[in-house]
């Protein structure tokens, strides 16, 4: 089935937040954020701003009737700063005016006196000073202390990954409309309608029942609208409550980039030990997560780093510890992969380090240590449904790794200014929210008396095709023409207490809830038909909008059956509820069975480097992916291609740049580069692993949102491989992204010009250029 939204998209008729026709009298809010990253607010003078024409009101923390608190996991983040500011762009006030132009003009006239305080931007510095969001956590298996003695080879080092701007193409925004009796209806571009509803209720000092949140669709989310869509919606609602007027708050791109959190930058230490026959015996890692100034989702992101610290490998002795470090950056947040990619990069770095020192190809180490069924993860879950060996042999048979290696070697031998490189990147990613209670969903299905169907779920459509999948499920189960099924907006009054659309689990959770609702309705309709034909319900089937009895078509259509059931006063509405079975996790022991299942895959990345200029392009990425039994190949392949490109972007060109004052320098699309049409690998081949699928997945079709992003990590190591062909004395720095500038320096670092990027010493080759070293 094709994406059901495509026609609206290509004709410009799809409605996003900023396209909703505004009600007469609508006012516009612009956020005034802190110009410094850490300080005490001594005085704010709004008088000049308030005197400007068209300015209606300026709302601050003093106007909040409820709690000035938006922290989800830990209550440590005010909606508006009170006395202290902790990051640049931290909201201090909302200026409400007759237009956003007027509000923006007024913003320039606010006078602020701040006593600046010490600014920390480096997570390691924060950790040394004891600035932590929560106590550190450690996952362990076996005994690494004893294991080191058994290792023949031990390597240790440092591996860093920078953050990543979500750059959802639609910026953050919300539109709040006051209704009767103090109720407020919010249209929000959020992945978490319930988070918006709950937080708004707290701040406004009302019950959740007073707040209705509606989401039609998002112009991209990628995790950036899981928690961080909330403040803007709360501000709009607060304005609506105070002024009894509709209020729209839509961030412009620079405000959005400056005020919102990103993927967490990480700095990590690793130590890996191998046996004589290159089996990993022990692995230790310490992760320093740059959480920013408040918790946001950092504790959960940090947890997933620990879950995926050993990626697709079995390691008998593991000890991994993570610190969530409090710095003066905007609170970092969810981003596709949710901490998993940062953990995986470190073990891939450790393996690349070991392989280089031992003079064996990295893929030999990778292949030797792949996870098998029955192996234990450091968090206690026993690996099942693991197809990694099959995936690897599929890759070898379909794409012939050795032939690729030979071809690249031959090319490199014949070219002095151009070099090619390749890498393999296996991925194992757990599916479920790691916080077990979040693994529940509901779906509301109405069969209208004319036989058409309305479906509401808790899933938010943000381009991942979840609404298409939901419609497909309902149409298949009722055997209806898809045109007769409508996917409703996601609305807290129809489906309450939703989990955010996140963790790749949205289709599984909501799809299974929808199946339950459809099944209950089918049962009632079949009973009604069975009574009519004098047979048992098991004899009734519904096919192509026709009723079949004992395998034969009857004269009764779907419409007639629905009509008959309605006249018999049978309920044609059902609410399905699903909670993932089996899963559990005990945080006191850091052991359990947190994931319904895992998704596995393997990517082969080939790159070409221009060794004169340091620029590179990706010749091919070939992927063997475990879809289970994909229920919608077109949607799922789109997710893999898109995830891969986003992962490559994170590893190569996307250079988030905060200065030591905590100021975002890469604060617009002209200063922050995301993959464009030329960044796509010239060839992307995706092969599906032959498998029976997994019953925990919807229609045995495994989750596909996040796992492909991590194929992009292969890009980093393919570039390293190519650099080494030009500069054999190249010393790995493991500090992503591998920008063109860094590649150029790496190609020539045997001149001793680039002393040591790890020490933070700037290269003399760079002249005036600002060569950034990851913090």
């Amino acid at each position: 089935m094709k994406n059901i939204d495509s026609k609206g998209h290509v004709t410009g008729k799809s409605i996003y937040l900023d396209d909703i026709p505004t009600i007469q009298g609508t006012l516009y809010g612009v956020v005034f954020g802190s110009p410094v990253a850490h300080g005490h607010i001594d005085a704010v003078d709004y008088s000049k701003a308030l005197a400007m024409p068209g300015v209606i009101r300026i709302i601050t923390h003093k106007d909040i009737p409820g709690e000035n608190q938006i922290g989800g996991i830990i209550p440590d983040e005010p909606l508006f700063a009170t006395n202290e500011v902790h990051f640049q762009g931290q909201p201090i006030a909302l200026i409400i005016a007759e237009s956003d132009h007027l509000a923006s003009e007024a913003r320039k006239c606010i006078e602020l006196k701040i006593s600046e305080k010490e600014i920390i931007v480096d997570p390691r510095v924060a950790q040394q000073k004891g600035e932590l969001i929560q106590p550190p956590r450690t996952f362990a298996l076996g005994d690494t202390e004893k294991a080191w003695a058994k290792c023949v080879h031990v390597f240790q080092g440092k591996a860093d990954t920078n953050g990543q701007e979500h750059l959802y193409i639609e910026t953050q925004g919300a539109y709040a409309v006051p209704m009767e009796n103090g109720n407020i209806r919010i249209s929000s571009s959020t992945q978490g309608p319930t988070a918006v509803q709950r937080t708004t209720a707290w701040v406004l000092g009302v019950g959740m029942h007073k707040i209705e949140v509606d989401v039609v669709r998002l112009g991209g989310g990628f995790g950036g609208k899981e928690d961080q869509a909330t403040p803007w919606a709360v501000m709009a609602a607060l304005g609506a409550q105070l002024l009894n007027k509709p209020i729209k708050v839509v961030l412009n791109r620079m405000d959005d980039m400056r005020m919102t959190g990103k993927r967490h930058p990480y700095s990590s230490d690793y130590k890996i030990g191998l046996s004589e026959d290159l089996k990993i015996i022990a692995y230790e890692a310490t992760f320093f997560q740059n959480a920013g100034a408040a918790a946001d989702l950092s504790p959960a992101v940090m947890e997933r780093t620990l879950f995926h610290a050993t990626n697709a490998y079995f390691v008998p002795n593991v000890q991994v510890t993570a610190y969530s470090c409090k710095t003066n950056l905007p609170p970092n947040t969810a981003f596709r992969g949710f901490g998993g990619p940062q953990g995986m990069f470190v073990i891939e770095s450790a393996l690349a380090h070991a392989a280089h020192e031992l003079n064996v190809p990295t893929y030999v180490l990778q292949k030797k240590n792949l996870l098998k069924n029955g192996d234990e993860f450091p968090y206690g879950q026993i690996a099942a449904d693991v197809g990694l060996q099959h995936i690897w042999s599929d890759m070898e048979s379909k794409f012939d790794i050795q032939a690729v290696e030979k071809r690249i070697r031959a090319f490199n031998a014949n070219h002095s200014d151009q070099k090619k490189g390749f890498s393999l990147m296996p991925v194992t990613f757990g599916i479920s929210f790691t916080k077990t209670p979040m693994n529940q969903a509901r779906a509301l299905v109405h069969i209208y008396s004319d036989g058409s169907v309305g479906v509401s779920t808790g899933a938010v459509e943000m381009g991942q095709g979840v609404n298409t999948k939901m419609l497909q499920i309902a149409a298949q189960m009722f055997s209806l023409d898809p045109e007769r099924v409508k996917l409703e907006s996601t609305n807290t009054t129809r489906v309450a207490n939703t989990s955010p659309s996140a963790a790749s689990a949205t289709s599984d959770l909501n799809g299974k809830a929808l199946q339950k609702a459809c099944n209950a309705l089918l049962e009632r309709l079949k009973q009604s038909a069975a009574d009519h034909f004098g047979v048992s319900p098991g004899d009734i089937e519904l096919k192509n909008e026709q009723v079949y009895s004992q395998g034969k078509a009857t004269s009764m259509s779907w419409n007639q059956l629905v009509d008959m059931a309605f006249l018999q006063r049978i309920c044609l509405t059902e609410n399905g509820h699903y909670a993932t079975p089996i899963i559990n996790f005990d945080k006191t022991k850091e052991k359990g069975h947190p994931f319904a299942y895992h998704v596995h895959g393997l990517a082969l990345t080939e790159v070409s480097i221009d060794c004169i200029r340091g620029v590179y392009e990706f010749d091919a990425v070939k992927i063997v992916h475990d879809f289970g039994k994909t229920m919608n190949p077109s949607v799922d392949i789109g997710q893999i291609e898109g995830g891969l490109v986003q992962g490559i972007g994170w590893m190569t060109m996307e250079e988030l740049n905060y200065d030591n004052q905590g100021r975002l320098r890469s604060n617009s699309l002209s200063a922050y580069k995301i993959p464009d049409i030329y960044s796509v690998p010239k060839e992307v081949l995706i092969e599906a692993l032959e498998t029976d699928g997994n019953d925990m997945a919807i229609l045995k079709s495994k989750a596909v949102g996040e796992p492909p992003l991590m194929y992009g990590i292969g890009a980093y190591f393919a570039i390293e491989n190519a650099i080494r062909a030009f500069n054999p004395s190249f010393i790995s720095t493991f500090d992503a992204p591998f920008t063109h500038e860094k590649v150029l320096l790496a190609l020539y670092n045997h001149y001793g010009i680039l002393e040591n990027s790890k020490t933070g010493i700037r290269s003399s080759l760079s002249g005036n250029a600002d060569v950034r070293i990851a913090q």
């Binding site: 799809s14 996003y16 291609e641 699309l669 796509v680």
Partner: protein, 208 residues
């Protein structure tokens, strides 16, 4: 190396001479106009463009075949005029600085970034937005192909992408992959639908 530096020098010299020349031209223009103003009758003075603003000014446009008139401040961009005044919200504002092409419309049949075009500069022009691309209920072949190849995910960059691709087919009925890439090189898609955009556009070209 020697060649390179002598080239550099030549370039630098020529750039300097250009600037020098340009300076002279500017100066003489100033002198001339000053002369004109002091010695000639006012009615023969060169006509100055009308001063617009700071209030609203009327802009007349042909949008999707309809004659439209909007009253906007001179600073209003074409994208704002289309979205906020004509309620054609298919055109999206994403970066607001010509870096992403999401706001692409056709101005006199050529793709432009409507966030970088002032509405007053489009006075009297023919504007085609994504809403005006289809012929009634018959979609443009690029629109058809985007649906067929699932080339949209979240859909927010799609209107701009469609206008760029359809614009390419308007000037080149038989493009190859490199042409498609060049035509959409400014269009950013964060969902990463690029491979499907290639397929869809090439397929649409075949159908046209």
């Amino acid at each position: 190396m020697n060649n390179k530096s002598s080239n550099e020098e030549k370039k630098a010299v020529s750039r300097r001479s250009f600037l020098k020349g340009a300076g002279v031209t500017t100066a003489s223009t100033v002198a001339m106009s000053a002369g004109l103003l002091s010695f000639k009758a006012p009615e023969t003075a060169p006509k100055r463009p009308p001063v617009l603003g700071p209030g609203d000014t009327e802009v007349r446009l042909e949008v999707n075949g309809q004659q439209e008139s909007v009253w906007v401040e001179p600073r209003t961009t074409l994208a704002e005029a289309l979205r906020d005044h004509l309620h054609l919200t298919g055109t999206k504002v994403v970066c607001d600085r010509g870096s992403c092409s999401a706001c692409t419309v056709w101005l006199n049949d050529k793709p432009v970034c409507s966030c970088m075009t002032l509405a007053v500069d489009a006075e009297g022009s023919k504007v085609t937005t994504v809403e005006g691309l289809a012929d009634g209920d018959t979609l443009h072949p690029v629109q058809e192909a985007f649906i067929e190849y699932d080339a949209a995910m979240c859909g927010y960059c799609t209107p701009g992408m469609v206008m760029s691709c359809a614009g390419l087919l308007k000037r080149n009925a038989n493009p190859n992959l490199d042409d498609v890439k060049a035509a959409t090189s400014g269009n950013l898609c964060r969902c990463g639908t690029y491979p499907k955009v290639f397929e869809a556009t090439l397929a649409a070209a075949k159908k046209m």
